[in-house]
Protein backbone atom coordinates (compact mmCIF):
# COMPACT_ATOMS: atom_id res chain seq x y z
CA UNK A 1 0.00 0.00 0.00
CA UNK A 2 2.68 2.45 1.01
CA UNK A 3 4.95 1.27 -1.75
CA UNK A 4 2.40 1.75 -4.51
CA UNK A 5 1.30 5.20 -3.34
CA UNK A 6 4.89 6.37 -2.86
CA UNK A 7 5.91 5.80 -6.46
CA UNK A 8 3.48 7.99 -8.42
CA UNK A 9 4.29 11.28 -6.60
CA UNK A 10 8.00 10.84 -7.34
CA UNK A 11 7.24 10.22 -10.98
CA UNK A 12 4.81 13.08 -11.07
CA UNK A 13 7.36 15.39 -9.49
CA UNK A 14 9.85 14.43 -12.15
CA UNK A 15 7.31 15.00 -14.86
CA UNK A 16 6.36 18.36 -13.33
CA UNK A 17 10.03 19.35 -13.24
CA UNK A 18 10.47 18.36 -16.86
CA UNK A 19 7.29 20.25 -17.76
CA UNK A 20 8.63 23.38 -16.05
CA UNK A 21 11.89 23.08 -17.94
CA UNK A 22 10.04 22.79 -21.26
CA UNK A 23 7.96 25.84 -20.38
CA UNK A 24 11.10 27.86 -19.62
CA UNK A 25 12.72 26.70 -22.86
CA UNK A 26 9.72 27.84 -24.86
CA UNK A 27 9.65 31.31 -23.32
CA UNK A 28 13.46 31.70 -23.17
CA UNK A 29 13.99 33.25 -26.67
CA UNK A 30 11.47 35.99 -25.90
CA UNK A 31 13.04 36.75 -22.54
CA UNK A 32 16.60 36.72 -23.90
CA UNK A 33 16.00 39.19 -26.75
CA UNK A 34 13.83 41.33 -24.52
CA UNK A 35 16.37 41.61 -21.74
CA UNK A 36 19.20 42.16 -24.22
CA UNK A 37 17.44 44.91 -26.20
CA UNK A 38 14.87 46.51 -23.92
CA UNK A 39 15.26 45.79 -20.21
CA UNK A 40 19.08 45.80 -20.03
CA UNK A 41 19.71 48.98 -22.05
CA UNK A 42 16.63 50.56 -20.43
CA UNK A 43 18.14 50.11 -16.98
CA UNK A 44 21.53 51.27 -18.27
CA UNK A 45 19.80 54.41 -19.53
CA UNK A 46 18.52 55.12 -16.04
CA UNK A 47 22.07 54.74 -14.70
CA UNK A 48 23.65 56.84 -17.46
CA UNK A 49 21.11 59.61 -16.90
CA UNK A 50 22.93 60.26 -13.61
CA UNK A 51 26.33 60.51 -15.34
CA UNK A 52 28.09 62.81 -17.80
CA UNK A 53 28.51 59.90 -20.27
CA UNK A 54 29.79 60.94 -23.70
CA UNK A 55 28.51 57.83 -25.47
CA UNK A 56 31.85 56.01 -25.49
CA UNK A 57 33.56 55.07 -22.22
CA UNK A 58 33.86 58.13 -20.04
CA UNK A 59 31.00 58.25 -17.49
CA UNK A 60 31.32 60.04 -14.16
CA UNK A 61 28.50 60.16 -11.67
CA UNK A 62 26.92 63.61 -11.56
CA UNK A 63 23.75 62.82 -9.59
CA UNK A 64 20.79 64.92 -10.71
CA UNK A 65 22.62 67.58 -12.68
CA UNK A 66 21.34 66.31 -16.05
CA UNK A 67 17.80 66.64 -14.77
CA UNK A 68 18.32 70.09 -13.30
CA UNK A 69 19.98 71.12 -16.59
CA UNK A 70 16.94 69.85 -18.46
CA UNK A 71 14.56 71.99 -16.45
CA UNK A 72 16.64 75.09 -17.17
CA UNK A 73 17.27 74.25 -20.85
CA UNK A 74 15.21 76.55 -23.11
CA UNK A 75 15.48 73.98 -25.96
CA UNK A 76 13.98 71.30 -23.74
CA UNK A 77 11.17 73.55 -22.56
CA UNK A 78 10.32 74.67 -26.09
CA UNK A 79 10.32 71.05 -27.27
CA UNK A 80 8.06 70.08 -24.38
CA UNK A 81 5.65 72.85 -25.36
CA UNK A 82 5.66 71.58 -28.96
CA UNK A 83 4.86 68.07 -27.70
CA UNK A 84 1.94 69.48 -25.70
CA UNK A 85 0.61 71.35 -28.76
CA UNK A 86 1.09 68.15 -30.76
CA UNK A 87 -0.96 66.22 -28.16
CA UNK A 88 -3.82 68.71 -28.36
CA UNK A 89 -3.79 68.61 -32.17
CA UNK A 90 -3.85 64.82 -32.26
CA UNK A 91 -6.56 64.56 -29.62
CA UNK A 92 -8.78 66.88 -31.65
CA UNK A 93 -8.17 66.59 -35.40
CA UNK A 94 -7.52 62.89 -36.13
CA UNK A 95 -9.91 61.73 -33.41
CA UNK A 96 -12.73 63.83 -34.90
CA UNK A 97 -11.94 62.68 -38.42
CA UNK A 98 -11.72 59.06 -37.27
CA UNK A 99 -15.05 59.24 -35.45
CA UNK A 100 -16.72 61.02 -38.36
CA UNK A 101 -15.41 58.55 -40.94
CA UNK A 102 -16.28 55.50 -38.85
CA UNK A 103 -19.76 56.76 -37.95
CA UNK A 104 -20.61 57.47 -41.58
CA UNK A 105 -19.18 54.12 -42.68
CA UNK A 106 -21.20 52.30 -40.05
CA UNK A 107 -24.40 53.76 -41.52
CA UNK A 108 -23.85 52.81 -45.16
CA UNK A 109 -23.80 49.36 -46.70
CA UNK A 110 -22.63 49.83 -50.25
CA UNK A 111 -18.96 50.66 -50.63
CA UNK A 112 -18.10 50.29 -46.96
CA UNK A 113 -15.23 47.91 -47.66
CA UNK A 114 -13.86 50.09 -50.48
CA UNK A 115 -13.86 53.25 -48.35
CA UNK A 116 -12.27 51.39 -45.48
CA UNK A 117 -9.41 50.20 -47.72
CA UNK A 118 -8.93 53.69 -49.20
CA UNK A 119 -8.80 55.30 -45.76
CA UNK A 120 -6.38 52.70 -44.46
CA UNK A 121 -3.89 52.85 -47.36
CA UNK A 122 -1.93 55.87 -46.03
CA UNK A 123 -1.40 53.97 -42.79
CA UNK A 124 0.47 51.09 -44.45
CA UNK A 125 2.74 53.48 -46.37
CA UNK A 126 6.15 54.02 -44.79
CA UNK A 127 6.68 57.26 -42.90
CA UNK A 128 9.56 58.17 -45.18
CA UNK A 129 7.38 57.82 -48.26
CA UNK A 130 4.42 59.80 -46.96
CA UNK A 131 6.79 62.49 -45.74
CA UNK A 132 8.26 62.61 -49.24
CA UNK A 133 4.82 62.76 -50.87
CA UNK A 134 3.88 65.76 -48.77
CA UNK A 135 7.26 67.45 -48.97
CA UNK A 136 6.69 67.64 -52.69
CA UNK A 137 3.05 68.77 -52.46
CA UNK A 138 3.95 71.50 -49.96
CA UNK A 139 7.11 72.54 -51.80
CA UNK A 140 7.10 76.27 -52.59
CA UNK A 141 8.68 75.67 -56.00
CA UNK A 142 6.85 72.60 -57.31
CA UNK A 143 3.87 72.01 -55.07
CA UNK A 144 0.32 73.15 -54.47
CA UNK A 145 1.23 76.85 -54.24
CA UNK A 146 2.56 77.16 -57.80
CA UNK A 147 -0.20 74.82 -59.01
CA UNK A 148 -2.86 77.16 -57.64
CA UNK A 149 -1.23 80.26 -59.05
CA UNK A 150 -1.13 78.53 -62.46
CA UNK A 151 -4.90 78.32 -62.15
CA UNK A 152 -5.04 82.02 -61.31
CA UNK A 153 -5.41 81.58 -57.54
CA UNK A 154 -2.29 83.15 -56.02
CA UNK A 155 -3.43 82.19 -52.52
CA UNK A 156 -0.45 80.11 -51.39
CA UNK A 157 2.20 81.76 -53.54
CA UNK A 158 4.69 82.78 -50.90
CA UNK A 159 3.82 80.19 -48.28
CA UNK A 160 6.75 77.98 -47.39
CA UNK A 161 4.95 75.43 -45.24
CA UNK A 162 7.99 73.62 -43.87
CA UNK A 163 10.41 76.54 -44.01
CA UNK A 164 8.41 79.12 -42.10
CA UNK A 165 8.89 78.75 -38.35
CA UNK A 166 5.40 80.02 -37.57
CA UNK A 167 3.58 77.27 -39.45
CA UNK A 168 6.13 74.46 -39.82
CA UNK A 169 5.00 72.56 -36.70
CA UNK A 170 1.40 72.67 -37.89
CA UNK A 171 2.44 71.49 -41.35
CA UNK A 172 4.34 68.52 -39.91
CA UNK A 173 1.38 67.62 -37.69
CA UNK A 174 -0.95 67.89 -40.69
CA UNK A 175 1.24 65.47 -42.66
CA UNK A 176 1.40 63.00 -39.77
CA UNK A 177 -2.37 63.22 -39.44
CA UNK A 178 -2.77 62.24 -43.09
CA UNK A 179 -1.21 58.89 -42.32
CA UNK A 180 -2.84 58.45 -38.92
CA UNK A 181 -6.54 59.23 -39.09
CA UNK A 182 -7.49 56.29 -41.35
CA UNK A 183 -6.19 53.89 -38.74
CA UNK A 184 -8.56 55.47 -36.23
CA UNK A 185 -11.46 55.06 -38.67
CA UNK A 186 -10.80 51.34 -38.92
CA UNK A 187 -10.52 50.84 -35.17
CA UNK A 188 -13.56 52.97 -34.37
CA UNK A 189 -15.55 51.20 -37.08
CA UNK A 190 -14.69 47.79 -35.60
CA UNK A 191 -15.88 49.04 -32.22
CA UNK A 192 -19.06 50.54 -33.68
CA UNK A 193 -19.93 47.29 -35.44
CA UNK A 194 -20.16 45.67 -32.02
CA UNK A 195 -23.00 47.96 -30.93
CA UNK A 196 -26.38 46.27 -30.46
CA UNK A 197 -28.59 47.35 -33.44
CA UNK A 198 -31.67 47.39 -31.20
CA UNK A 199 -30.25 50.46 -29.45
CA UNK A 200 -30.40 52.40 -32.71
CA UNK A 201 -33.88 51.07 -33.50
CA UNK A 202 -35.13 52.27 -30.14
CA UNK A 203 -33.60 55.71 -30.74
CA UNK A 204 -35.18 55.89 -34.20
CA UNK A 205 -38.56 55.08 -32.70
CA UNK A 206 -38.07 58.11 -30.49
CA UNK A 207 -37.36 60.15 -33.60
CA UNK A 208 -33.67 60.79 -32.90
CA UNK A 209 -31.58 62.27 -35.72
CA UNK A 210 -28.10 61.14 -36.76
CA UNK A 211 -26.40 63.61 -34.46
CA UNK A 212 -28.33 62.48 -31.40
CA UNK A 213 -27.79 58.84 -32.28
CA UNK A 214 -24.04 59.48 -32.43
CA UNK A 215 -23.97 61.44 -29.21
CA UNK A 216 -26.32 59.29 -27.14
CA UNK A 217 -25.63 55.78 -28.44
CA UNK A 218 -22.49 55.46 -30.57
CA UNK A 219 -20.07 57.46 -28.47
CA UNK A 220 -21.08 55.98 -25.08
CA UNK A 221 -20.99 52.46 -26.55
CA UNK A 222 -17.45 52.73 -27.90
CA UNK A 223 -16.13 54.56 -24.84
CA UNK A 224 -13.52 51.90 -23.88
CA UNK A 225 -11.99 52.07 -27.38
CA UNK A 226 -12.22 55.84 -27.42
CA UNK A 227 -10.45 56.15 -24.07
CA UNK A 228 -7.77 53.64 -25.02
CA UNK A 229 -6.99 55.48 -28.25
CA UNK A 230 -6.96 58.84 -26.47
CA UNK A 231 -4.50 57.44 -23.98
CA UNK A 232 -2.33 56.07 -26.78
CA UNK A 233 -2.56 59.40 -28.60
CA UNK A 234 -1.19 61.22 -25.56
CA UNK A 235 1.66 58.72 -25.18
CA UNK A 236 2.58 58.70 -28.88
CA UNK A 237 2.43 62.49 -29.08
CA UNK A 238 5.26 62.73 -26.59
CA UNK A 239 7.33 60.18 -28.52
CA UNK A 240 6.87 61.59 -32.03
CA UNK A 241 10.12 61.54 -33.98
CA UNK A 242 9.97 60.29 -37.58
CA UNK A 243 8.06 63.06 -39.32
CA UNK A 244 9.85 65.88 -37.55
CA UNK A 245 13.26 64.37 -38.19
CA UNK A 246 12.59 63.59 -41.86
CA UNK A 247 10.79 66.83 -42.76
CA UNK A 248 12.51 69.55 -40.78
CA UNK A 249 15.12 68.02 -38.42
CA UNK A 250 13.56 70.20 -35.73
CA UNK A 251 14.14 73.39 -37.70
CA UNK A 252 13.87 76.07 -38.87
CA UNK A 253 15.66 77.39 -35.77
CA UNK A 254 14.11 74.87 -33.42
CA UNK A 255 10.54 75.81 -34.33
CA UNK A 256 9.56 72.15 -34.79
CA UNK A 257 11.84 70.62 -32.17
CA UNK A 258 10.21 67.93 -30.06
CA UNK A 259 11.69 66.02 -27.15
CA UNK A 260 12.83 63.11 -29.32
CA UNK A 261 14.72 65.29 -31.80
CA UNK A 262 16.38 67.21 -28.96
CA UNK A 263 17.40 63.88 -27.47
CA UNK A 264 18.65 62.52 -30.79
CA UNK A 265 20.81 65.60 -31.33
CA UNK A 266 22.21 65.46 -27.81
CA UNK A 267 23.10 61.78 -28.17
CA UNK A 268 24.47 61.61 -31.69
CA UNK A 269 25.74 65.04 -32.68
CA UNK A 270 26.62 66.71 -29.38
CA UNK A 271 28.15 63.67 -27.61
CA UNK A 272 25.99 64.28 -24.54
CA UNK A 273 24.74 60.74 -24.15
CA UNK A 274 24.14 61.13 -20.40
CA UNK A 275 21.94 64.15 -21.04
CA UNK A 276 20.15 62.28 -23.85
CA UNK A 277 19.55 59.34 -21.48
CA UNK A 278 17.94 61.75 -19.04
CA UNK A 279 15.55 62.90 -21.78
CA UNK A 280 14.84 59.24 -22.60
CA UNK A 281 14.03 58.55 -18.95
CA UNK A 282 11.79 61.62 -18.87
CA UNK A 283 9.91 60.32 -21.92
CA UNK A 284 9.42 56.93 -20.27
CA UNK A 285 8.22 58.67 -17.10
CA UNK A 286 5.75 60.76 -19.09
CA UNK A 287 4.35 57.58 -20.70
CA UNK A 288 4.18 55.76 -17.38
CA UNK A 289 2.68 58.80 -15.67
CA UNK A 290 -0.04 59.05 -18.31
CA UNK A 291 -1.02 55.41 -17.85
CA UNK A 292 -0.89 55.65 -14.05
CA UNK A 293 -2.92 58.85 -14.08
CA UNK A 294 -5.56 57.18 -16.20
CA UNK A 295 -5.68 54.11 -13.98
CA UNK A 296 -5.81 56.30 -10.88
CA UNK A 297 -8.80 58.25 -12.20
CA UNK A 298 -10.55 55.03 -13.10
CA UNK A 299 -9.75 52.76 -10.18
CA UNK A 300 -9.33 55.11 -7.23
CA UNK A 301 -11.57 58.03 -8.00
CA UNK A 302 -13.94 55.65 -9.81
CA UNK A 303 -14.34 58.00 -12.75
CA UNK A 304 -16.45 56.30 -15.32
CA UNK A 305 -13.93 56.65 -18.17
Amino acid sequence: MIKTSARPPARRRRRVARGKLTAWLFIAPLLIVNVLVIAGPGLMSVYYSFTDWDGLDQADFVWFSNYTDLIGDPDFRRALLHNLLWTVFFLVVPMSMGLLGAFLLSRIRRGQLLFRVLFFIPYVIATVVSATVWRQILSPTSGIGPALSNLGIPLLDDVNFLGDGDIALGAVAFINNWQWWGFLVVIFLAAMQGIEPSLYEAARMDGAGAWREFWNITLPSIRPTFMFLSLMTVIWSFLVFDYVYILTQGGPAGSTDVLSTVMYRAAFSEQQAGYASAIGVMLALISAGTVCGYLYLRRRLRWDI
Binding site: K20, W24, I125, W178, F183, F268, G280
Partner: protein, 294 residues
Protein backbone atom coordinates in the same frame (compact mmCIF):
# COMPACT_ATOMS: atom_id res chain seq x y z
CA UNK B 1 -18.44 40.23 -82.28
CA UNK B 2 -17.55 42.18 -79.23
CA UNK B 3 -20.55 44.44 -79.50
CA UNK B 4 -23.17 41.80 -78.82
CA UNK B 5 -21.89 40.58 -75.45
CA UNK B 6 -21.19 44.15 -74.50
CA UNK B 7 -24.81 45.05 -75.15
CA UNK B 8 -25.92 41.95 -73.33
CA UNK B 9 -23.91 42.81 -70.28
CA UNK B 10 -24.91 46.43 -70.48
CA UNK B 11 -28.46 45.90 -69.38
CA UNK B 12 -28.06 44.13 -66.06
CA UNK B 13 -25.20 46.46 -65.18
CA UNK B 14 -27.28 49.58 -65.65
CA UNK B 15 -30.03 47.92 -63.67
CA UNK B 16 -27.64 47.21 -60.83
CA UNK B 17 -26.42 50.77 -61.02
CA UNK B 18 -29.91 52.13 -60.68
CA UNK B 19 -30.57 49.97 -57.66
CA UNK B 20 -27.26 51.08 -56.22
CA UNK B 21 -27.97 54.74 -56.72
CA UNK B 22 -31.31 54.35 -55.02
CA UNK B 23 -29.59 52.93 -51.96
CA UNK B 24 -26.91 55.62 -52.22
CA UNK B 25 -29.64 58.22 -52.31
CA UNK B 26 -30.57 57.22 -48.79
CA UNK B 27 -27.41 58.81 -47.42
CA UNK B 28 -26.28 61.38 -49.98
CA UNK B 29 -24.53 63.51 -47.38
CA UNK B 30 -22.72 60.51 -45.90
CA UNK B 31 -21.43 59.49 -49.32
CA UNK B 32 -20.41 63.05 -50.11
CA UNK B 33 -18.37 63.42 -46.91
CA UNK B 34 -16.87 59.94 -47.28
CA UNK B 35 -15.84 60.76 -50.85
CA UNK B 36 -14.15 63.96 -49.70
CA UNK B 37 -12.30 62.01 -47.03
CA UNK B 38 -11.31 59.36 -49.59
CA UNK B 39 -10.02 62.10 -51.87
CA UNK B 40 -7.94 63.46 -49.00
CA UNK B 41 -6.53 59.98 -48.35
CA UNK B 42 -5.80 59.02 -51.95
CA UNK B 43 -5.33 62.36 -53.75
CA UNK B 44 -1.75 62.89 -52.57
CA UNK B 45 -0.85 59.37 -53.69
CA UNK B 46 -2.26 60.10 -57.15
CA UNK B 47 -0.17 63.28 -57.38
CA UNK B 48 2.81 61.21 -56.31
CA UNK B 49 2.23 58.54 -58.97
CA UNK B 50 1.83 61.22 -61.65
CA UNK B 51 5.01 62.97 -60.52
CA UNK B 52 6.95 59.73 -60.84
CA UNK B 53 6.06 59.64 -64.55
CA UNK B 54 6.97 63.25 -65.39
CA UNK B 55 10.10 65.22 -66.05
CA UNK B 56 11.31 67.61 -63.33
CA UNK B 57 10.41 70.61 -65.50
CA UNK B 58 6.88 69.26 -66.00
CA UNK B 59 6.54 68.98 -62.22
CA UNK B 60 7.51 72.60 -61.63
CA UNK B 61 5.36 73.85 -64.52
CA UNK B 62 2.19 71.98 -63.58
CA UNK B 63 2.65 70.14 -60.29
CA UNK B 64 -0.78 68.53 -60.28
CA UNK B 65 -1.28 68.03 -64.03
CA UNK B 66 -0.94 64.94 -66.16
CA UNK B 67 2.44 64.10 -67.66
CA UNK B 68 2.82 64.83 -71.38
CA UNK B 69 4.40 61.44 -71.86
CA UNK B 70 4.67 58.62 -69.34
CA UNK B 71 8.34 58.35 -68.43
CA UNK B 72 8.67 54.81 -67.18
CA UNK B 73 12.46 55.09 -67.34
CA UNK B 74 12.27 57.26 -64.17
CA UNK B 75 11.85 53.99 -62.31
CA UNK B 76 14.93 52.43 -63.87
CA UNK B 77 16.95 55.58 -63.12
CA UNK B 78 15.72 55.77 -59.53
CA UNK B 79 16.38 52.04 -59.05
CA UNK B 80 20.07 52.69 -59.73
CA UNK B 81 20.61 56.31 -58.65
CA UNK B 82 18.73 56.15 -55.37
CA UNK B 83 20.17 52.71 -54.64
CA UNK B 84 16.60 51.40 -54.39
CA UNK B 85 17.49 48.01 -55.82
CA UNK B 86 19.89 47.18 -53.01
CA UNK B 87 17.66 48.98 -50.50
CA UNK B 88 14.61 46.94 -51.45
CA UNK B 89 16.60 43.73 -51.21
CA UNK B 90 17.84 44.67 -47.71
CA UNK B 91 14.34 45.72 -46.63
CA UNK B 92 12.82 42.46 -47.82
CA UNK B 93 15.49 40.43 -46.01
CA UNK B 94 14.95 42.47 -42.84
CA UNK B 95 11.14 42.34 -43.02
CA UNK B 96 10.95 38.60 -43.75
CA UNK B 97 13.51 37.68 -41.08
CA UNK B 98 11.68 39.87 -38.59
CA UNK B 99 8.33 38.31 -39.45
CA UNK B 100 9.61 34.72 -39.25
CA UNK B 101 11.60 35.34 -36.08
CA UNK B 102 8.74 37.12 -34.35
CA UNK B 103 6.37 34.27 -35.26
CA UNK B 104 8.74 31.66 -33.81
CA UNK B 105 9.65 33.64 -30.68
CA UNK B 106 6.13 34.82 -29.96
CA UNK B 107 4.53 31.52 -30.93
CA UNK B 108 6.72 29.59 -28.50
CA UNK B 109 6.20 32.16 -25.75
CA UNK B 110 2.44 32.23 -26.21
CA UNK B 111 2.39 28.43 -26.14
CA UNK B 112 4.34 28.41 -22.88
CA UNK B 113 1.99 31.01 -21.41
CA UNK B 114 -1.21 29.18 -22.27
CA UNK B 115 -0.32 25.48 -22.37
CA UNK B 116 2.85 24.71 -20.46
CA UNK B 117 3.54 24.62 -16.78
CA UNK B 118 4.96 28.12 -16.44
CA UNK B 119 4.98 29.49 -12.90
CA UNK B 120 2.90 32.67 -12.56
CA UNK B 121 2.03 33.43 -16.21
CA UNK B 122 0.40 36.65 -15.01
CA UNK B 123 3.80 38.11 -14.13
CA UNK B 124 5.11 37.37 -17.62
CA UNK B 125 2.07 38.97 -19.22
CA UNK B 126 2.56 42.07 -17.09
CA UNK B 127 6.21 42.18 -18.16
CA UNK B 128 5.13 41.91 -21.81
CA UNK B 129 2.67 44.76 -21.42
CA UNK B 130 5.31 46.96 -19.81
CA UNK B 131 8.03 45.97 -22.32
CA UNK B 132 5.80 46.67 -25.30
CA UNK B 133 4.91 50.12 -24.03
CA UNK B 134 8.40 51.33 -23.14
CA UNK B 135 9.50 54.01 -25.61
CA UNK B 136 12.42 53.20 -27.91
CA UNK B 137 13.93 56.50 -26.82
CA UNK B 138 14.49 55.07 -23.33
CA UNK B 139 16.92 52.36 -24.43
CA UNK B 140 18.19 53.77 -27.74
CA UNK B 141 21.48 55.30 -26.63
CA UNK B 142 22.81 52.48 -24.40
CA UNK B 143 21.60 49.94 -26.96
CA UNK B 144 23.69 51.61 -29.66
CA UNK B 145 26.73 51.51 -27.42
CA UNK B 146 26.07 47.86 -26.52
CA UNK B 147 25.55 46.87 -30.16
CA UNK B 148 28.81 48.60 -31.12
CA UNK B 149 30.65 46.65 -28.41
CA UNK B 150 29.33 43.23 -29.40
CA UNK B 151 29.69 43.84 -33.14
CA UNK B 152 26.00 44.05 -34.05
CA UNK B 153 26.09 47.74 -35.05
CA UNK B 154 25.78 48.37 -38.78
CA UNK B 155 24.64 44.84 -39.57
CA UNK B 156 21.28 43.70 -40.82
CA UNK B 157 21.24 40.91 -38.25
CA UNK B 158 21.76 43.41 -35.43
CA UNK B 159 18.76 45.42 -36.61
CA UNK B 160 16.66 42.27 -37.00
CA UNK B 161 17.38 41.22 -33.39
CA UNK B 162 16.14 44.61 -32.19
CA UNK B 163 12.95 44.20 -34.22
CA UNK B 164 12.46 40.73 -32.75
CA UNK B 165 12.64 42.19 -29.27
CA UNK B 166 10.31 45.14 -29.81
CA UNK B 167 7.67 43.40 -31.95
CA UNK B 168 7.50 40.08 -30.06
CA UNK B 169 5.58 41.23 -26.97
CA UNK B 170 2.55 42.39 -28.94
CA UNK B 171 2.70 39.31 -31.20
CA UNK B 172 2.82 37.07 -28.12
CA UNK B 173 -0.31 38.65 -26.69
CA UNK B 174 -2.05 38.34 -30.08
CA UNK B 175 -1.16 34.67 -30.59
CA UNK B 176 -2.03 33.98 -26.96
CA UNK B 177 -5.56 35.24 -27.59
CA UNK B 178 -5.87 32.72 -30.46
CA UNK B 179 -4.46 29.88 -28.34
CA UNK B 180 -6.91 30.52 -25.53
CA UNK B 181 -9.73 29.92 -28.01
CA UNK B 182 -8.46 26.41 -28.88
CA UNK B 183 -9.91 23.67 -26.62
CA UNK B 184 -7.26 21.88 -24.58
CA UNK B 185 -8.96 18.49 -25.05
CA UNK B 186 -7.38 18.13 -28.51
CA UNK B 187 -3.90 18.25 -27.05
CA UNK B 188 -4.77 16.09 -24.07
CA UNK B 189 -5.84 13.36 -26.48
CA UNK B 190 -2.56 13.62 -28.41
CA UNK B 191 -0.51 13.49 -25.20
CA UNK B 192 -2.32 10.36 -24.08
CA UNK B 193 -1.27 8.88 -27.42
CA UNK B 194 2.31 9.59 -26.36
CA UNK B 195 3.10 12.68 -28.45
CA UNK B 196 5.89 14.98 -27.16
CA UNK B 197 5.48 18.73 -26.66
CA UNK B 198 7.02 19.66 -29.99
CA UNK B 199 4.86 17.14 -31.80
CA UNK B 200 1.75 18.42 -30.04
CA UNK B 201 2.68 21.97 -31.00
CA UNK B 202 3.42 21.32 -34.67
CA UNK B 203 0.70 18.76 -35.36
CA UNK B 204 -2.22 19.83 -33.20
CA UNK B 205 -1.90 23.43 -32.08
CA UNK B 206 -0.23 25.12 -35.03
CA UNK B 207 -2.80 24.13 -37.66
CA UNK B 208 -5.50 25.65 -35.46
CA UNK B 209 -3.84 28.97 -34.67
CA UNK B 210 -1.95 29.74 -37.89
CA UNK B 211 -4.27 32.63 -38.84
CA UNK B 212 -3.21 34.40 -35.66
CA UNK B 213 0.44 33.63 -36.28
CA UNK B 214 0.18 34.85 -39.89
CA UNK B 215 -1.46 38.09 -38.76
CA UNK B 216 1.24 38.63 -36.13
CA UNK B 217 3.93 37.98 -38.75
CA UNK B 218 2.37 40.34 -41.28
CA UNK B 219 2.09 43.17 -38.78
CA UNK B 220 5.68 42.67 -37.56
CA UNK B 221 7.06 42.38 -41.10
CA UNK B 222 5.28 45.52 -42.27
CA UNK B 223 6.41 47.47 -39.22
CA UNK B 224 10.01 46.37 -39.81
CA UNK B 225 9.79 47.30 -43.50
CA UNK B 226 8.49 50.78 -42.70
CA UNK B 227 10.50 51.45 -39.54
CA UNK B 228 12.69 54.56 -39.53
CA UNK B 229 14.20 55.58 -36.18
CA UNK B 230 16.12 52.36 -35.47
CA UNK B 231 17.12 51.83 -39.09
CA UNK B 232 18.59 55.31 -39.42
CA UNK B 233 20.43 54.90 -36.12
CA UNK B 234 21.80 51.40 -36.46
CA UNK B 235 22.73 51.10 -40.15
CA UNK B 236 25.57 53.15 -41.60
CA UNK B 237 27.12 51.21 -44.47
CA UNK B 238 25.41 51.87 -47.80
CA UNK B 239 25.51 48.14 -48.57
CA UNK B 240 23.21 47.39 -45.64
CA UNK B 241 20.82 50.35 -45.94
CA UNK B 242 17.13 49.41 -46.09
CA UNK B 243 14.91 51.10 -48.67
CA UNK B 244 13.51 53.57 -46.14
CA UNK B 245 16.94 55.02 -45.43
CA UNK B 246 18.03 54.96 -49.09
CA UNK B 247 14.94 56.99 -49.90
CA UNK B 248 15.52 59.29 -46.94
CA UNK B 249 19.03 60.18 -48.13
CA UNK B 250 17.88 60.49 -51.73
CA UNK B 251 15.11 63.03 -50.98
CA UNK B 252 17.27 65.21 -48.73
CA UNK B 253 18.60 68.54 -49.93
CA UNK B 254 16.88 71.79 -50.76
CA UNK B 255 15.44 70.94 -54.18
CA UNK B 256 15.73 67.26 -55.04
CA UNK B 257 14.73 65.81 -58.40
CA UNK B 258 11.09 65.18 -57.50
CA UNK B 259 10.42 62.90 -60.47
CA UNK B 260 13.12 60.47 -59.40
CA UNK B 261 12.29 60.83 -55.70
CA UNK B 262 8.66 59.95 -56.42
CA UNK B 263 9.70 56.98 -58.51
CA UNK B 264 12.01 55.77 -55.73
CA UNK B 265 9.21 56.19 -53.17
CA UNK B 266 6.80 54.22 -55.31
CA UNK B 267 9.35 51.43 -55.69
CA UNK B 268 9.34 51.16 -51.92
CA UNK B 269 5.55 51.34 -51.56
CA UNK B 270 4.34 49.08 -54.36
CA UNK B 271 5.25 45.70 -52.75
CA UNK B 272 3.50 46.75 -49.53
CA UNK B 273 0.42 48.02 -51.36
CA UNK B 274 0.14 44.80 -53.35
CA UNK B 275 0.45 42.70 -50.19
CA UNK B 276 -2.00 44.93 -48.32
CA UNK B 277 -4.66 44.81 -51.02
CA UNK B 278 -4.28 41.04 -51.32
CA UNK B 279 -4.48 40.44 -47.57
CA UNK B 280 -6.28 43.57 -46.37
CA UNK B 281 -8.72 41.69 -44.14
CA UNK B 282 -5.88 40.09 -42.19
CA UNK B 283 -3.95 43.35 -41.89
CA UNK B 284 -6.99 45.21 -40.63
CA UNK B 285 -7.69 42.39 -38.17
CA UNK B 286 -4.15 42.54 -36.82
CA UNK B 287 -4.11 46.28 -36.40
CA UNK B 288 -7.62 46.31 -34.99
CA UNK B 289 -6.63 43.92 -32.23
CA UNK B 290 -3.69 46.19 -31.44
CA UNK B 291 -5.95 49.20 -31.18
CA UNK B 292 -8.74 47.60 -29.19
CA UNK B 293 -6.71 45.75 -26.58
CA UNK B 294 -7.75 48.37 -24.01
Amino acid sequence: MTAVPALDRGRPRSHAKRRGSRRTAKHPVAYLILSILALYAIGPMVVFVLASLKTPSEISESPLGLPGEFRWDNFATAWVEANMGAGLMNSVVIAVSTAVGVCVIAGCAAYALTRLDLPKPGVFILYLLVASSLPIQLFLVPLLSLWTKIGLYDSRFGLIVIYWAIYSPFATLLIRSFLIAVPKEYEAAARIDGAGEIRVFTRIVFPLVWPGILTAGLVAGLQAYNEFLLAVTFIQDSENLPASISLYSFQQGFSPNWALVSAAGLIMVLPVLALFIALQRRFVEGYTSSGMSG
